[in-house]
Structure formats: structure tokens, C-alpha cells
């Protein structure tokens, strides 16, 4: 026979049975509850307070496949890039430092999938020029035509994660009602325990497998259209560079877990409606049957060094979504601030004069 002690939903104190009132009362805060309420509350909490577990499949060994005849290893940042005769590169695509290609047969681990390039170098150049346009704070050397010409098409390695999620989340929710009479304003706050439990599935969450490519860039050019994804064949790579992955899938898992957790919370939270305030109290999010596949995804990239810092421009080679970081010319900032301030000041004076 299990000894059940209830905890008070209001203050966490002990609940005692009040025999005079035939009800359950908290010994610390004096709140009164019915037995059913307390039982349900216990159940909800138990489910949601279990620790979260993330279970991913172990990775299997991959075979190597020969894809290129030239390669370079960047001395500055360590990136290993593989290409073919047609893809000579003089700069490292990731850090912009000069490199020399080695002629030698080289390969990469065999990917499961690849999304072939859809947009051409011309498309990429146009996009880049547009990006530079209307950036009044940009130093002018960026817009130099020579720089733009150096943009390269790179297959960036990605891990694509599938998983199922089971979650139990409990929220503290309130409804508020106010009214008043001639002397006071009354506020009644009704407290609820809201439990949500269920499952959902995710597929092909991408996490980039190259340590040289900052995650935030790759996140920003998402999503890719997986309907155009193909089984891998080395032929897709000709004419483009490819990056050997150096980040194991397991190393990507924390970032993926974070995203899964966030999406699960958002999805569950969206089913809690009709309350004035909703605060998550406890959650148990379990990832199961997680597995990762390795894919090459197409990206147009150009990295420019400015004042000894690399600034990268990347465009999704399939969808055209682009992202970039550009340096800010301090001189221009000051000029613009003064200019706008002066104009606003003038406008204000006219306004004042008219009134």
C-alpha cells in the first residue's frame, strides 16, 4: 500500500487531511483542494518531471569515395576542400586566405544524399551585387568587381536528423477577472494546472557538418527543398568544390536537441488557449529513434577579409536565399548619423514654427 503525500500546488507545502472540514488543506498556506484535483495534479507532474532523454542512433562507418583530383588544405583555418580540374581556387572559401591547390586524387566519405546546384554563378553574382546595393555603411572596396568574380560553388556537408519526440509538459496558467464597487477594485486570479502530453516527429533537420562553416550561416540559408534531393553520385560534384566533413553527427546533436526541444515546446504551448498567463512549470521531452543521414547541400560562397577579419556571403545554391555579414565603415556611420540628425532637427524646427 503506497503512502501518498500530496504537495500543495500553491506553495509546495504539505497537504494534510482536515477531518472537521472533510477536505485536504495545505499546512503552510491554508489552501483547500479536492482529492481528485490533488491526484490529477500529482499525475501530471510525475510525467513532466521525468528527466528528458535524447536517444540517437549510433553512427555507422562510411566508405570513402573518390571525387576529385585536386584539393587544398588551408593553412590558416584548416579547411579541407576537394575539387576537380575545372575548379581552381586561389582563396580559401571559408576564411579568404590564399591557398594553393594540390594535384592529387582525393576523396570524401560517401554521402547518402546530395541536392544538386540549381542556381548558376551568374545568379550568385547578381544576388551578391544586390546585397551590396543600398548598404550605405559598406566600405567601398567590397563592391569591387574583382571580388565578386571570386564567388565559388561549394557542396557543404550536412547531417540530416530524423527523430520522434514524446513530451509531457505542465504549465501554470491563470485567468483573471476584475470588478469594482464604490470603494474597492477587486481582482480574482484563478490558478490552473495545464498538462499536455503527446508525440510528434521531425525529419531532416539540417546541421552543418563542417566546423569551418559557422552554424549560424547555414541556419540562415535554410530551408532546402528536400523534394529535389538525390541519392549521391560523384558526377554531381564536377565543376564544384566539396568540403570534407569533420564534425561528427554526435557533435551536432546538442544544437539539434535544442531546436527540437524549442519546437516541441512551441507546438505544445500553442494548444493552451484561453488564459491570461501561461508559464511552463516542468517538462519532459524525450527524443527517440533519432538517426542522422549525411548529405551534401549546395552553397555559393564568398569570403572577404577586411581589416583582418573574414566576412562571408553565402547563398543557398538551390533556393537563392542568401545571408551575409558585412563590415561597417565607421566613418560612414558618423556621416550618416549627423546627416539624418540634421535633417530631423530641421523638420522639427519647421514643425515648431508652424505651431
Amino acid at each position: 500500500m503506497e503512502l501518498m503525500t500530496f504537495k500543495c500546488p500553491n506553495c509546495g507545502g504539505n497537504i494534510l487531511f482536515d477531518s472537521t472540514g472533510q477536505q485536504f488543506r495545505c499546512e503552510s498556506c491554508d489552501s483547500v483542494f479536492a482529492k481528485e484535483q490533488l491526484e490529477e495534479y500529482e499525475q501530471m507532474l510525475k510525467k513532466s518531471e521525468a528527466p528528458s532523454e535524447y536517444v540517437w542512433e549510433q553512427e555507422t562507418e562510411r566508405e570513402q569515395v573518390v571525387t576529385g583530383s585536386v584539393s587544398y588544405i588551408c593553412e590558416y583555418c584548416g579547411a579541407e576542400i576537394v575539387g576537380d580540374e575545372t575548379t581552381a581556387a586561389t582563396e580559401c572559401v571559408y576564411c579568404g586566405s590564399p591557398v594553393i591547390m594540390n594535384k592529387k586524387l582525393s576523396g570524401i566519405d560517401k554521402p547518402d544524399y546530395v541536392i544538386p546546384f540549381k542556381l548558376t554563378k551568374e545568379d550568385a553574382k547578381t544576388a551578391l551585387k544586390n546585397f551590396y546595393n543600398k548598404k550605405p555603411l559598406l566600405p567601398k572596396e567590397f563592391k569591387d568587381e574583382n571580388r565578386i568574380e571570386k564567388i565559388s560553388g561549394v557542396y557543404v556537408p550536412f547531417w540530416l536528423f530524423d527523430c520522434g519526440v514524446d513530451a509531457n509538459i505542465v504549465y501554470d496558467a491563470t485567468r483573471v477577472r476584475t470588478w469594482s464597487d464604490s470603494r474597492y477594485i477587486y481582482t480574482k486570479t484563478s490558478h490552473f494546472a495545464v498538462a499536455r502530453g503527446g508525440s510528434m516527429e521531425f525529419e531532416r533537420i539540417p546541421a552543418d557538418g563542417s566546423s569551418k562553416m559557422e552554424d549560424r550561416y547555414m541556419d540562415a540559408i535554410e530551408p532546402f527543398d528536400y523534394s529535389e534531393m538525390q541519392e549521391f553520385a560523384p558526377a554531381y560534384l564536377s565543376g564544384y568544390l566539396a568540403d570534407k566533413y569533420d564534425v561528427q553527427a554526435s557533435a551536432c546533436e546538442p544544437h539539434v536537441n535544442e531546436r527540437v526541444n524549442a519546437s516541441t515546446n512551441e507546438t505544445f504551448r500553442s494548444t493552451v488557449k484561453g488564459y491570461a498567463t501561461v508559464i511552463p512549470k516542468s517538462q519532459s521531452v524525450n527524443i527517440r529513434s533519432g538517426k542522422a543521414k549525411y548529405a551534401l547541400l549546395p552553397v555559393w560562397m564568398l569570403t572577404t577579409r577586411y581589416k583582418d577579419k573574414p566576412y562571408t556571403f553565402a547563398m543557398n545554391g538551390q533556393t537563392g536565399k542568401l545571408v551575409g555579414e558585412l563590415p561597417v565603415d565607421k566613418g560612414k556611420v558618423i556621416k550618416w548619423m549627423l546627416g539624418i540628425a540634421a535633417a530631423a532637427f530641421a523638420v522639427g524646427q519647421i514643425f515648431l514654427f508652424l505651431n
Binding site: 464604490s182 477594485i185 503527446g198 550618416w336 522639427g348 524646427q349 515648431l352
Partner: protein, 463 residues
């Protein structure tokens, strides 16, 4: 010559003696309640009537006199006869006892009723008329005793129900408020002010010069005309034996004919010097427009001036505020909109703009700040567009379609908590938040019933 003079003189003498005898002689009674000169009643009938009348006299200090005469009086002369009868027997306005005189002219079947002393306070025209009809119908059947008996009963019943008579009944001491004019507690729906209304400013404590009084009176007249609302300002050295300042103010208002319209809309502001009390008594519409928080506010506005002896200033400020609340009530304006809208003179000086130069400087600084902010925002936006690489924190795009299944959904009620906080009240004079009047959120007026039976609101304080 001498003989002519004597003749003329004697004629004149004759005439002067005869004139009163023309048409009628007005008898002088011995103060008896039933003066039955026409012998219409038996001895015991008269006695019974006198007993009833004595009862009334002892209970209410109210005289009832019944006089019959067989003198041949025409209708035109009957009024004079009654007047003469009253003055001959000392039943007049000087007689401190109140009462009523009934005279019956047997010859023409005429009768008349006259109030004496303060008796006009008890009966109003209509009631006298109703007495007439009651008695008249019985007299026409020649049942004199029945008629007079009924008459006395009616008077007695009326005294019992009349609130003013209650006043006569209960106090042997002099009542402290001698009414200035007779009043009509029961006349329904009279438009405008009452004909017997007292003065707008009654300065018994002599705090104001006549010029100041005149200014206040004009202001009150404006208010009456604009808003159909009566205001009276009354100062008195003492409230005498009144049970409370509230009662004194209520009664002052009720018994002096103040109030506009059928509901006697208006208010009285009373200052009692010996107890240093001030009090506002509201009636009718006044209760709605000047709710409790506004009454408090009015008091706070003037209490300093009262304490300093600046009575005119206090009353003027009081009237200003009253007018302003009436204006807002009439136009559905709430709060401080009134200042701007009406171009109103603000007594607390809050909106005084100060020197011109300071003004401009402040505005220039404001524009400068505005310019800097605008520039900052513009540049910030420019900068943001320079870096669009932001990590994704969620994976919403990768949720497998239709895979979401939240099977367990349970919302459980736990408990309620109720808190309350007092509504903000205005508690400092000048400059703090002004309550809104009339039906506004700041709520209601406590009312009470005064001695007249009417409902009053209001409030006051000490200065």
C-alpha cells in the same frame, strides 16, 4: 356759524361711530375656541368640540377657532369680517401660537378659513381647499355639529401627518432656525425656483462686504440660469440646537424654499462659525453631479482659504468649481478636458506657462533629442541589414506533416486568490487628481433622509 360747526361735528361723529356698524359687527370673544354666536350648536356639542380642540392645543400648541355668526354679510365683505375678527381677538401674525380660524356666516351659508400666526406654514392652498370641500358638503345639509366635528378631525389628522407640525409638537424650546419665508413641502412639479425662496447668499455671520455678497449672488444667478440648478451660501455664527451640521444644512435648504424644479435640484453651502464646520448639502440632481469624492474635493479646494479667513475667496472658488462640474455633467466631459475646452480659469495655477525663453529652450532640446533618436534608429536599421546570419533556435520547418499528436490534454482548476485595492482618493488640496462627478467611475453618493423627509447627499469638514 357755531351751530353749523356743531352740526357738522356731530354728523361726523355719528358717521365715525356708524361706519363699523354698516353691514356687520365683529364681536370680541373671550378667547373661546368655539364662538357660536349664531347658536347653531347645542351646549354639549360645543363642549365636545372644545374638548377636541383643547387636545390639539396641548399636543401641538395649535389653536383651532370656530366662530359662527348670523350677521348678514355679503361675499365681498366676508373676507374683511374674518380679518377683523382675527385682529379684534388677537389672532394675528403677531400671535406666537399658530392656528386656524373657521368662520361660518349663517345668513348666506358662507364660510371662510384663515390661518393665524404661523399657521400658514402648516396648510398650503390646496389643503385648505380640500378642507373646504369636505366641510362645505356637510354644512349644506345643515348638520352643523357634524360639519365642525369633521373639520376639527381633519385638522387634527393633518397635524399628525404634517412634518412641520411634528416640529411644533416636539420642541417646547424655540427651534433654532426661524424660517424666513413660508415654504411648500408638498407642491408638486413647480418649474424653476420657488416663489418663496430665500436669498442666494445669507450671511448671518457677517463675513462678507455687501459688494462681495453681490458678486457671489450674481454668480449664483448665472448658475441658476445656465444649469437650472440652485445654490445658496449661508454663514451663521452658530447652528444652535440643531442635532448636527448636516441636519442644520439640510433643513436650511428645505425650509427656505431652495431648489430648482420639481426635484428641488441644488445645493446649500453652510459655514458654522462657532464649531468651525463647513458643510455642503445636496438635493435632487445635486446628489448625482456632486458625488462623495467631488464633495471632498470641493472641501479640499477651499479649506485653506476658510482657515485663513479669506471667506470671499473660498466661496468664489467654491462656486467656480460647482459651475465647472455642472458644465462637465451637462456636456459629458470627464476629467481635465474642461480646461482646454472652455478656456477656464484654473484656480490652482497649474497651467501657468512661465517665461517664454524657458519654453523655447525646452522645445529646442526636445527637437534635438528627437533628431538624435531618429538618426539612431535609421543607422541601426542600416547596420542590421549588414548582417543577416542568425542561428535558428527552432526546427518548426522540419516538423513532419500531420505527425503532431497531443493526446493528453488536461486543464485542472487548482484554487482562486482574490485581492482588492482601495480606489484612489483625492487627498491633498490643489494640484492632485480631480475626481469626476456625475455618474462617473469614482462612484456614488451617500444619501440620508433629513427631517423634512426628503433625501439629501453632501459632506463637510472642519476649517
Amino acid at each position: 356759524m357755531k351751530r353749523l360747526a356743531v352740526l357738522v361735528l356731530s354728523l361726523v361723529l355719528c358717521f365715525s361711530m356708524c361706519i363699523p356698524a354698516w353691514g356687520y359687527t365683529v364681536p370680541q370673544t373671550d378667547g373661546e375656541a368655539v364662538a357660536d354666536y349664531a347658536s347653531l350648536l347645542e351646549y354639549d356639542e360645543a363642549k365636545a368640540l372644545e374638548e377636541k380642540i383643547d387636545q390639539i392645543k396641548s399636543e401641538y400648541s395649535y389653536d383651532v377657532v370656530i366662530h359662527t355668526t348670523s350677521a348678514n354679510i355679503s361675499y365681498e365683505e366676508s373676507q374683511d369680517y374674518i380679518d377683523d375678527f382675527c385682529s379684534n381677538n388677537g389672532y394675528g401674525a403677531d400671535d406666537p401660537d399658530s392656528g386656524i380660524v373657521f368662520v361660518y356666516f349663517e345668513a348666506g351659508g358662507l364660510y371662510g378659513i384663515k390661518e393665524i400666526g404661523l399657521g400658514t406654514r402648516v396648510y398650503d392652498g390646496e389643503d385648505l381647499e380640500s378642507l373646504d370641500t369636505v366641510v362645505g358638503s356637510i354644512l349644506s345639509s345643515y348638520d352643523y355639529y357634524g360639519a365642525f366635528d369633521k373639520y376639527v378631525d381633519e385638522v387634527y389628522a393633518y397635524l399628525k401627518s404634517s412634518p412641520v407640525a411634528k416640529e411644533l409638537k416636539k420642541s417646547d424650546e424655540e427651534t433654532s432656525f426661524i424660517p424666513l419665508e413660508p415654504y411648500n413641502p408638498l407642491s408638486p412639479g413647480a418649474e424653476g425656483l420657488q416663489p418663496n425662496r430665500g436669498e442666494s447668499v445669507v450671511d448671518d455671520a457677517d463675513l462678507l462686504t455687501s459688494f462681495e455678497e453681490q458678486l457671489l449672488v450674481s454668480k449664483i444667478e448665472e448658475i441658476i440660469e445656465q444649469y437650472s440648478y440652485d445654490v445658496v451660501i449661508h454663514t451663521t455664527p452658530t447652528a444652535g440646537n440643531a442635532p448636527s451640521v448636516e441636519a442644520y444644512a439640510d433643513d436650511f435648504y428645505d425650509y427656505n424654499g431652495y431648489g430648482y424644479g420639481g426635484n428641488y435640484d441644488g445645493m446649500a453651502f453652510v459655514l458654522v462659525m462657532d464649531s468651525r464646520d463647513y458643510y455642503t448639502s445636496t438635493h435632487g440632481k445635486g446628489i448625482d453631479v456632486f458625488n462623495d469624492s467631488v464633495i471632498n474635493y470641493l472641501g479640499d479646494t477651499i479649506v485653506n482659504d476658510l482657515s485663513n479667513g479669506d471667506y470671499y475667496d473660498a466661496f468664489a472658488a467654491y462656486l467656480n468649481e460647482v459651475e465647472r462640474y455642472l458644465y462637465e455633467y451637462a456636456n459629458g466631459i470627464v476629467g481635465d478636458e474642461y480646461y482646454d475646452y472652455y478656456g477656464y480659469d484654473d484656480p490652482s495655477g497649474e497651467y501657468n506657462s512661465g517665461s517664454k525663453i524657458e519654453d523655447i529652450l525646452v522645445k529646442e532640446l526636445g527637437i534635438l533629442a528627437f533628431a538624435v533618436v531618429v538618426a539612431g534608429i535609421a543607422v541601426y536599421i542600416m547596420k542590421r541589414r549588414m548582417n543577416t546570419a542568425v542561428a535558428k533556435r527552432e526546427a518548426n520547418a522540419y516538423i513532419k506533416k500531420d505527425s503532431v499528436n497531443i493526446g493528453y490534454q488536461k486543464d485542472t482548476f487548482l484554487y482562486d486568490t482574490v485581492t482588492k485595492r482601495a480606489k484612489p482618493k483625492n487627498n491633498s488640496s490643489g494640484g492632485s487628481s480631480r475626481p469626476s462627478g456625475g455618474g462617473g467611475f469614482s462612484g456614488g453618493s451617500r444619501t440620508h433622509t433629513s427631517s423634512s423627509g426628503r433625501t439629501h447627499g453632501g459632506g463637510g469638514g472642519k476649517f
